[in-house]
Every structure is written in C-alpha cells, then in structure tokens.
Amino acid sequence: MMETTCINVIETLAPCLVAGGAAPGLAAFISTLLGVLLVSAFPLVLVIILIWVERKIAARVQDRIGPNRVGPYGLLQNVADAIKLIIKEDITPAGADRLIYNAAPIIAMLSVLLIWAVVPFTPVHIGVDLSIGLLYFVSVSSIGTLAIMMAGWASNNKYALLGAFRVVAQLVSYEVPMVVALLVPVLLVGSLSMQDIVRGQIGMWFIVPCFVSAVIFYISNLAETGRAPFDLIEAESELVAGYNIEYSGMKFGLFMANEFMHAFTVNLFFALIFLGGWSGPGAEQVPVLGFFYLFIKTGFLYIPSLILRATVPRVRIDQMMAFNWKFLVPVSILNLLMVAFLLQVTKALGIAPALGETDFLANLPQALVLLAGNVALIVGIMTVLRNNGRRERAAEEAKRLRRMAASGRAMVPAGGTD
C-alpha cells in the first residue's frame, strides 16, 4: 500500500495516510489541503524576510543602517510591524463601497499567491504542472490590475481614483511586450508547461538564445510590479499615496506585502524562464538541490532589482507610455519574428537540437545562431535610436539658430549661456 515514489507536492501524503487506516477519499482531501497550505503559506512567510532584505538594502544605498533594534540584525522588525498593523484601528472612509473596499486587498493578495501554484521548485515538487502554466502566470497576474481598480474606486477619494487610472494605463500596456517576449522561450520549448520550460533549459539557459526577450521581460516586470522607475502608481509627490491612500491597518499591510511578494515572484519567474529554474549540477538526482539553485538564481536577480529601485528616479507618465508603445512593443514583435525565422533556418541547416535535448554541446549551435540574431537586432535598434537622436538634435539646433537670427542678436555658440 505504501508508495515511496514522489509524484508532486500534493500527491505524496495520501498513500501513507491510507496505509495508516484513513479512507482513501479523506486521505486525498487531507493531503491536497496540506499541499495547498504549504504552497500558499511559503510565499507568505517568505515575504516577512523579503521586506527585511529590501529595507536593509535600501538603507545601505541611502547610507543608513536600516532596522537593527528588534531581534538579531533587526530580523524581527517585520514581525513587530505586522503585529502593529494587525492591532491598528481599521478605518473605512465615509462614502466607501464597503464590500468592494474590503475585497480589494484580498483579491490583490490572491493574484500573487495563486501564481505560486505553478512554480516548479524542484524537478518533482510543483503545486500543479498545468499544461498552460506560463499562460496561467500571465492571466492570474492580470487580476492584480482589477484589485487596484477596485481599491481606487471604492475608497471614494480623488487621489485614489487617479492612482487607479494610472494603473490601467501602465499595467495593461506593459502586459503586451511581456506576453510577446514570453512567446520566444515557448517557441524554443514547444510547450507552455513550467516544468517543460525548465527542463528545456538543462542543456542551455534561455538567456543566451533569447537575450532580447529576457531584457524586455525584465523591464516590463518592473512596470508590472509598479516599482521604480515605473512606480507611478503611488507617486507620492503627485498622488499622495495612490490607490491605497485610504487603507489602514492590515488591509494596507496586505497591499504592501502583495507588492513585495509580486516583485520577488516575477524575479522567480525570470529565473525559471530564462536562467534554467532548478536546473544545475546534480539537481535531477537530489531534487532539494534544485530548490537551492532556483532561489540562488532568484536572489541574483532580486537584489540588483532592489538596488535599482533605490537608485533610479521616476519616469513621467508620457515617457512611460511612449517607451512602451513606441519602443518595447515594436522591439518585442521584431524579436519574435526574428527568432521564429532563425529557428526555421537552423532546422533547415540541420543544426537544431532535438526537442528535450539536454546536452550542452548539442544545444550550442542553435543558441549561437539565435544569439547572433539578438546581437544584430540590438545593433540595429541602437543605430536607429542614434540616428533619430542626431536628427532631433540637428532639428533643435536649426530651430535655435533660426530664433537667434530672427531676434537679431549675435550668434551664441551652442551650449553658451544667455
């Protein structure tokens, strides 16, 4: 009766419970419930540590020490903060739409927590390996937009509503280049399942053949999580606090924890899709090693993103939209066409590896061809941008000279002061 094979997180416990005398249906229910609890509680516990890491790094960037009073190295600071948030008075503003107002933080939290169901932690441990895992990630995270809209509208506050308007503009726009960039690794694997995508990278990490889409995915993720330089959702100087201005206590805490968790989750997905996820030496024999590989890779992405957040200024809303629609979207579409074309070329030349090829050398020729295509694309974009910049500068210079001539004053050399 006892099964020792481990299929996934959810299906390991039930055989043991049945052997212990429980009814099979009950055993399955209990083990599923525990699996769901485990997968969903993990990010919730993780976020306490993440906030500590973020505050420490932001403090170092700003030449401070950061939290260091509660517990060793201030590690328990966030536990204290969480207790404070829970016992704080919970205020609902007059004129708020109570039901929507209270539901918004929960839906915001759900939109991130649900993503973790398809995260392959190791070769065998995954909540559920959906055949559409990657699409599930995109669609579930799009619900977050809805939660912020609900919060902004239900608060009955102009600043909150303005914040919510920006969210739609920002999040819906940046979803476009993100989805198109994600199509490129899908082209290489031929599957949307997260486990297949990670397995497809055992021979070669996708950051090599899909460099451009990795960069686009990273940038659009910064915007999707609403972090600097794209933190227009809660631009303090313009909107006071944005959509969550009226929230207090643990409801605000949920929004905040959701933001930190989302930032970590998208970096986790970057590691899964472009840096090989759990793959690494010995990960398939000792699955728990894969867990450490995945989190080390995520850490290498997450910590620079925190430093980025603490150092860069905020972009203007028109710059942000123009950057997305006039730069990221065309580049991501060109990139997709380029990769699709080169994949057919490598297939015709006979240097394409078989699907699921795990040998590094077998994957190398195709990866190099795609990398060359990426480099050519980057060079082409840079040339276009440089020529555009030159033309614009020349036009401005000509305009300035015309103005000078019209006002009848002596010519001042460019860069001179008036």
Partner: protein, 175 residues
C-alpha cells in the same frame, strides 16, 4: 442519476457564479457593480472551460475578458463618474429584451440539450465529443491549411484594421 463528486460540486459553484453574476449585471443600478458582476460571471465561464478540459480557453478567458476587457469597461465607466449611480431606467422596452432573452434560452435548451440528453437522444452519460484537444492541437488547427487558417487570418486582419482605425480616429488632427 447525478453522482455527487468534486466535478459536480465545482459545476454547481461555477453555475452560481455564472448565473448569479449575469443576474447581477442586469439588475444592479450601479454601473461599477454591474461590471464587477460581469467579472464574476466571466470567471464562472472560465471555470466551465476548466471542467470541459479546455485549460487554454480558461486562461485566455481570464487574461482577455477579465484582465483586459472588463478592466477597460470599468475604466470607461469611472471616467464618467456621474454615471456610476444611475437611478433612471434608460431602456423603456426592458420587457422586450427580457422576452427575447427568455426565447433565446428556450431555443438553446430545446435545440442543444434535448437531442443529446432528452428522451429520444443519445446516452445520458455520452460525452459531447471524444476528442480531448490539447493546446498544441488547438495551435495546429489554427494554422493548418485544411482547418481554420482562413478564418484565423481574416480575424487577425480585421482586428489589425480595427486597431489602426481606432488610432486614426483618436489621433490629433494637427500633427
């Protein structure tokens, strides 16, 4: 006889979402509430796609209908803030719409459900189709010459045309 398993329970929960949400859309006078009810209803639809083993359709339903279209509906409603609390009845022929809706439902029940599950119909437990389509099969069907490539391309051309048209209409005339 209906057997009570997880799929049946899920079916009833999603049905409540779908029908309840749809009722909420037509009865609530607050437009934002109506849009949120629409989302609940669409979510129930996504649940049905999961029950019908069409996970790709379910994910697309959430991504496109809930994540983009419903959010844009709410966005449009919010821009006209005075519209969010309407008390007037704008549609005076509401009973006509109700009649048309009821007739349509009746036609669907008679035309679709009766031949399959009715008296003269096939086995009560017959699946609607034996083909379990994977996402891959769906993709192949869209591009293979003897299946749906023409409608697929026509639809994408139409959407591109609509997008360009929208840009032309919304554009400043001076620049």
């Amino acid at each position: 006889m209906l057997e009570l398993n997880a799929a049946t329970i899920a079916f009833f929960i999603f049905s409540i979402f779908l029908v309840g949400g749809a009722l909420g859309v037509v009865t609530s006078s607050n437009l934002i509430h109506g849009a949120l009810y629409l989302i609940i209803s669409l979510f129930g639809g996504a649940g049905f796609f999961v029950l019908l083993s069409a996970p790709f359709m379910a994910a697309v339903q959430v991504l496109v209908y809930i994540g983009a279209i419903a959010v844009l509906i709410i966005f449009a409603v919010m821009l006209t803030r005075s519209m969010t609390r309407m008390t007037e009845v704008y549609n005076r022929q509401w009973w006509l719409s109700a009649l048309a809706g009821a007739l349509l439902l009746l036609m669907l029940v008679v035309g679709v459900i009766l031949p399959v599950w009715g008296n003269g119909g096939a086995r009560p437990n017959m699946p609607i189709s034996d083909i379990v389509a994977t996402t891959e099969a769906l993709g192949v069907a869209f591009v293979s010459g003897d299946q749906y490539v023409l409608p697929f391309e026509v639809a994408s051309l139409l959407l591109t045309g609509v997008m360009i048209g929208a840009i032309v209409l919304a554009r400043d005339t001076e620049s």
